[in-house]
Symmetry: C2
Subunit: 195 residues, 2 copies
DNA sequence: GAAAAAACTTAAGGTATCTTAAGAAGCCAA
DNA sequence: TTGGCTTCTTAAGATACCTTAAGTTTTTTC
């Protein structure tokens, strides 16, 4: 059955970082919620609070915000087997200022924060897993600060392609541009110049 | 006695976020190490691993790294009652790529990771406190990504002055420039233009 | 499969920021 | 107090990136 296959995908993914025993697997499986989103549908909008961790089973997602000039700035991109969220809102329990949106028809596995936090007490490996994930999120954001200060736009684009090889194909170029912090026109120019 | 006064400063600071009972205070105090640094002295250099949390009692510090062109990029600044670290290295236990340096003669309280992690099991409030701090660190870095994409250099400088009012006075301007991601010459130009 | 919408490209002209270089000012050491 | 670092300023010329606008290609919708 499909659902079991998706759950296995999640469990395999978790097992890359920590080792879950039968009890842990049972417990984790028991709090799973499936959620489907259509293309362009929002998982989170400004003013809402993120109260789940979200694992992409099928499809692709992004998070972005709008600046004062209504310019979009993409903060995170994800495809199958990535986590997507407004971690700020999830961790602080405050309202989000971001959009989290499906780029394609997307299937998520959601783990509700309340249930997860109960699980942390029973199953330390699950707590460890999310500690590791949050740590990676911190590192990833810091990398971006470093990149944005050290590299020019083409170098950032080049890094992006190396880091997100599988994603580039599936994401419109104007979203890549808004991730890199350049205009779509300039990204188009850079691509031509270096091709 | 001076040392007790410094410890009280730390405890008051922790009490802003969580409530420590007598046992927690006792335990936390027992793992404190004091460390003095002279102006320009390094707390961490590339290749070392951060294995303490560091609270500034007196003085000021910064963390920075060097890019391929040996340009300095300041990631964090701190004065009295701020924490300073390479959190990436501390959390991942990997080698740092950064310098963490005293900008003035500085006195730190250090809490060793090994001792802290033992404490987390006995005193959940201490665990909570550092979870909150790490969360704030994540939020701060994400704010910087957002800023660097939405704002031009003068707006970033203006934000910097509002956010770090007490710090600006004590830090050379070229370090502020390296924090903002502009050249010292351009910062000087901006200051003149808007004065 | 045609029409509409969304995404991408091209190009001209403009602005923000950098590079280099030199001099001025501030600060520390002897 | 003088000299020597270190930091800050100024200015000219260069470059990276933006804005606008129009045309082209691709994708979506019915």
């Amino acid at each position: 059955m499909d659902i079991n296959h998706h759950i296995k995908t999640l469990l395999n993914h978790v097992n890359l970082d920590v080792t879950l025993d039968a009890f842990a697997v049972e417990k984790l499986s028991s709090i799973i919620i499936f959620k489907e989103l259509n293309k362009k549908e929002f998982l989170i909008e400004p003013g809402e609070t993120a109260n789940t961790m979200n694992f992409i089973v099928q499809g692709s997602m992004r998070s972005y915000y709008l600046d004062e000039n209504a310019q979009e700035h993409t903060l995170q991109l994800g495809i199958e087997e990535w986590w997507i969220n407004d971690l700020y809102s999830y961790l602080s329990r405050k309202k989000s200022r971001m959009y989290v949106q499906a780029l394609e028809k997307t299937l998520l596995i959601q783990l509700p924060r309340i249930e997860l936090e109960k699980l942390y007490l029973e199953v330390p490996e699950i707590s460890n897993f999310f500690r590791i994930k949050i740590q990676s999120a911190y590192v990833a954001v810091q990398e971006r600060v470093i990149d944005s200060m050290s590299d020019d736009a083409y170098e950032r684009y080049d890094n992006f392609r190396k880091t997100y090889r599988d994603i580039e194909q599936r994401v419109p170029q104007y979203i890549v541009a808004s991730y890199l912090g350049v205009t779509p026109e300039f990204l188009s120019y850079l691509r031509k110049k270096h091709s």
